[in-house]
């Protein structure tokens, strides 16, 4: 960066961007600049307008007013194609890879290398290998993308972006799906790209990452720019306060709950190689954290308990009585509900109104006989809407139009209304911003205080340590250990259990 030279024109400039959706002013007069070889962290709570801004850059939305300049020239970006031509590449949270096509086919999708109408597969594969090697990834270009790990898929996305000679790379929550080791690798790649003069806009909810990788940061709140500055000159506290718009006391709220009887007991659960001989119990008023690396079998375990997948063997006891949970309906009837980690594919019907999503598990309650009392449903929903501060223009707004945090609140609301004794939350705060996180933690505490038994699966160690009464650590489908004295435990304690290999069992 050479700010002192007056002729230095920013790589990207967005000026006075304004966008309204029905009922929402998504972006109000937002401006953004990005220099060559700079990593700009774009921050803000869910619904602050980050995604909208990024989609404009990627050509998925058009702005109502404002302009985009690239290297000083006005760029007319109105489609993904024109964005690519302008040198912008956006890597969305949901990858745009076609699972059944190979890596190189995905790399060149829409711009195949052809000679007289024939695709030159050799040349494509060679170039694919070249770009992947540049990222330090060794992936066979002939592998179908469905066989890649998430990190590898991301690498393919980045490689594809680079191969289009993008000068501006936008990454939306790139680390959300990666393990810690993979994140390190990602950072190496980002630093490398920065050194090559590529401008990077990096969106993340993980503040640690921002301080590690970004040069400058910009904060959005409610569609407005509320702060901007060099990362080196900003403190963590300042940043959080900017995002939330108020000062935060602690990251995790206090909880003081008397534990009751054992609500849920699981004995010797098994399913193939993913869940092996898992046993544990949870008391009323207790929060049990389940930790472990990705693929340790945490999600698989709780899915068995909630009746989503069938178990090979094992027992589930609720309040001391064995219950059959061979489908979700039975599990719910037995008092077990699961808030799944993937809201969009498992938690919500995204094209339906949030009120109907909220009502779905509770329709029996809102019906007389088979006849639905929509007014009761609406009334109940309005209560949660106020209580959980769900930001939506009306109860009839489609679930897909809400931000991630508000979607999670809708999912929470629907299960709170169901009022089951045992609540399993898989990744309660994935893709959710700091402010909403705190609210969700408070909610978990409230549920514990009401005497619910809570199981919380999480990949975020601070969250596990901050919220759990007890921690169960899993590895390769097994329970590797239990941490009872959470107050004095450290991240290292959890990690060492999570990475412990079973020597006796080989």
């Amino acid at each position: 960066m050479s700010e002192s030279i007056p002729s230095d024109i920013p790589l990207l400039e967005m000026r006075g961007i304004d966008k309204r959706f029905p009922g929402v002013h998504a972006l109000a007069d937002v401006s953004l600049t990005l220099q060559q070889g700079e990593v700009l962290a774009l921050l803000g709570e869910n619904g602050a307008g980050k995604s909208t801004l990024i989609k404009m850059l990627g050509g998925a939305h058009s702005s109502d007013s404002g302009e985009i300049l690239i290297s000083g020239c006005p760029a007319n970006i109105h489609s993904a194609m024109s964005a690519r031509d302008a040198g912008v590449a956006v890597i969305y949270q949901e990858f745009n890879l076609i699972p059944d096509l190979t890596v190189s086919e995905n790399m060149f999708l829409g711009r195949e290398k052809t000679k007289a109408g024939w695709i030159e597969q050799k040349a494509e594969q060679k170039e694919t290998r070249h770009w992947l090697a540049k990222l330090g990834m060794d992936i066979d270009p002939d592998t179908p993308c469905r066989r890649l790990t998430v990190a590898q898929q991301q690498a393919v996305e980045i490689a594809r972006a680079l191969s289009t000679e993008a000068r501006i790379l936008v990454m939306d929550e790139p680390s959300a799906v990666l393990t810690d080791r993979e994140v390190e690798k990602l950072f190496e790649i980002v630093r490398d790209l920065r050194a090559q003069g590529i401008g990077i806009i990096y969106i993340s909810h993980r503040l640690d990452e921002v301080f590690e990788i970004a040069d400058r940061l910009m904060v959005l709140r409610d569609g407005r720019k509320v702060g901007e500055g060099k990362v080196a000159e900003t403190s963590r506290k300042e940043l959080i306060e900017m995002m939330v718009g108020r000062s935060l006391e602690a990251e995790f709220p206090e909880r003081n709950v008397e534990k009751g009887n054992v609500r849920l007991e699981v004995r010797n659960l098994n399913r193939g190689r993913t869940v092996r001989d898992v046993s544990f119990s949870v008391r009323a008023g207790e929060v049990l954290g389940i930790s472990g690396l990705v693929g340790a079998g945490r999600t698989e375990t709780v899915r068995l308990i909630a009746g989503i997948d069938a178990k090979d063997s094992g027992e589930v006891l609720v309040n001391g009585k064995a219950v059959s949970v061979w489908n979700p309906r039975k599990a719910i009837a037995a008092g077990i509900c699961l808030l799944s980690e993937d809201r969009k594919t498992e938690g919500l019907v995204i094209q339906h109104p949030i009120r109907e999503n909220f009502g779905l598990p509770n329709l029996r309650k809102f019906s007389r006989g088979a006849v639905l009392k929509e007014s009761e449903e609406t009334k109940a929903f309005e209560r949660y809407k106020n209580d959980l501060k769900i930001k939506a223009s009306s109860p009839d707004q489609r679930a897909g139009e809400l931000s991630g945090g508000n979607q999670q609140k809708v999912v929470l609301a629907k299960w709170l209304e169901r009022n089951t004794d045992i609540i399993i939350i898989d990744e309660p705060t994935r893709g959710i911003d700091v402010g909403a996180k705190f609210e969700i933690y408070q909610l978990i505490n409230r549920l514990a205080a009401e005497g619910k038994a809570i199981i919380m699966v999480s990949s975020e160690l601070p969250e596990i340590l901050g919220m759990s009464d007890r921690i169960l650590v899993m590895h390769e489908g097994r329970v590797m250990g239990e941490i009872n004295d959470v107050k004095n435990a450290t991240q290292e304690d959890v990690l060492s259990l999570a990475m412990k290999t079973v020597e006796a069992n080989t």
């Binding site: 309906r329 009837a333 019907v349 094209q351 779905l360 598990p361 639905l372 929509e374």
Partner: protein, 439 residues
């Protein structure tokens, strides 16, 4: 209001179509209403003798038949003794006139109105016999489309497809499809008429008709249920499961009848599809009752909501405790029932059962559902929108009939209408043509 149009936007298209056909089918025709009947009789009281032979002509299956009945009963009241009613085809009319001539008692007065005055036979006879006193009621301007008889014909024509479309809407809302409905229609028609044939044939009592209907509908319900089991429990793709059923049901209908139509049915079979209740055609009653019931079910019961949820996101629905498999079985069951009932209506309208009925109907039904705006990927759509879709198709067919298009042209136009309505829907839901093309 905005919400109404979001759900039922195609109603505008329907209204425009109706307005269009009302205007283009306006024509001059001699009146055949009550007033016309009275003035005709009055003029005859003055100009004709009480013993004159009076022939009153009307076309079969048209409103001029009613005119004939009105005129002749009034003439008889007025003291005329030799009134001869001719209701039938132009040929029937010519034969009758020749017969009277040969017997040596030619007609003195000839009365006819409406479509009759456009028959060539009518014009020939008037020009041949100069001493005949021809009475034609005064001409008035009509819209052929808006005639009551024509509007009932629109309903009669669509009732079969519209009834099946209820089941199809439910199935498509879950993200499925049912190709078997056309064959099931034929099977129901065949089974119900065969039952009537076996239990007395032409002389069977009315309860046999109902038993026949029950047999046809429940057979189709069972087959629909089987399809649902295949889709829900055995995870066969709906397209394949119902394709197989479509072929089996059609074959079965041919096997049962040996390939022939079943005509040995009692007169009372016609009541369902051609009769009236409290002066309202039964077809209209059927449509109103079934559609209101289906709408209430889909919009105001939890099972309706479950069906939308299953189509919107099956996994999310399952995890929310929705009985996904039962709902799938249920919609295919309803699909079978509606197809079976439609088969009974069809048999009643034709007064017979034939194994080749309902060929291609699955496509017309799917077209009606799609024209109504229901998404083939499931999760969104409305019951009444399907009814509107069915009416759009029927109105277009009827309008083209009135304008004299031949059936090949009609097929082309119908295909185009399906395309256009889907395009309109796309443009509407994506917020304008520009947005649709750019995004």
């Amino acid at each position: 209001m905005r919400k109404f149009f979001a759900n039922y936007g195609m109603i505008l298209v329907l209204v425009l179509l109706c307005a269009f056909f009302s205007v283009v089918t306006i024509q001059k025709e001699s009146a055949i209403g009550v007033g016309a009947a009275e003035t005709t009789v009055e003029s005859l009281v003055e100009s004709a003798g009480k013993d004159d032979r009076i022939v009153v002509v009307g076309g079969a299956r048209s409103e001029s038949a009613d005119f004939v009945r009105m005129v002749s009963s009034r003439l008889e009241e007025a003291g005329f003794t030799k009134v001869i009613k001719v209701i039938g085809t132009p040929r029937d009319f010519v034969v009758k006139m020749e017969e009277l001539e040969q017997v040596g008692t030619p007609a003195a007065v000839l009365i006819g109105g409406g479509d009759v005055t456009k028959w060539t036979a009518w014009e020939n006879i008037i020009s041949e016999s100069s001493d005949l006193n021809v009475v034609i009621p005064e001409e008035k301007i009509y819209s052929a489309f808006l005639r009551k008889g024509n509007l009932v014909a629109v309903v009669d024509r669509i009732v079969v497809i519209a009834v099946i479309a209820i089941g199809m809407t439910l199935i498509i809302l879950t993200g499925g499809i049912d190709l078997s409905v056309g064959s099931l229609l034929a099977l129901a028609a065949v089974i119900s008429t065969l039952i009537m044939k076996w239990l007395g044939g032409l002389d069977a009592p009315a309860w046999v008709v109902w038993l026949g209907f029950f047999g046809g509908v429940s057979a189709c319900g069972l087959i629909g249920l089987t399809g649902g089991l295949l889709v829900a429990w055995f995870r066969v793709a709906p397209f394949i499961a119902t394709l197989a059923i479509m072929m089996m049901a059609r074959g079965l209908a041919f096997i049962l009848t040996g390939g022939f139509s079943v005509y040995q049915v009692p007169e009372s079979l016609t009541w369902l599809g051609q009769g009236k209740t409290l002066g309202i055609p039964n077809t209209v009653v059927i449509l109103v009752v079934l559609y209101v019931a289906a709408h209430l079910f889909m919009a105001h019961t939890r099972f309706g909501r479950y069906i939308y949820a299953v189509g919107g996101n099956r996994e999310a629905a399952r995890l929310s405790g929705v009985p996904v498999k039962w709902m799938l079985i249920f919609v295919y069951f309803v699909g079978g029932l509606t197809a079976g009932f439609a088969g009974c209506i069809q048999a009643s309208q034709l007064n017979s059962g034939a194994p080749n009925l309902g060929t291609m109907f699955e496509l017309y039904v799917i077209a009606a559902v799609v024209v109504g705006g229901t998404s083939l990927s499931g999760g969104s759509g409305k019951i009444f929108a399907t009814l509107i879709g069915a009416f759009i198709i029927s109105v277009i067919q009827n309008g083209m009939n009135l304008l004299g298009f031949e059936s090949y042209t009609q097929t082309v136009v119908l295909g185009a209408v399906i395309l256009i309505s889907v395009l309109i829907d796309k443009i509407r839901t994506s917020g304008g043509l520009v947005k649709l093309l750019l995004e």
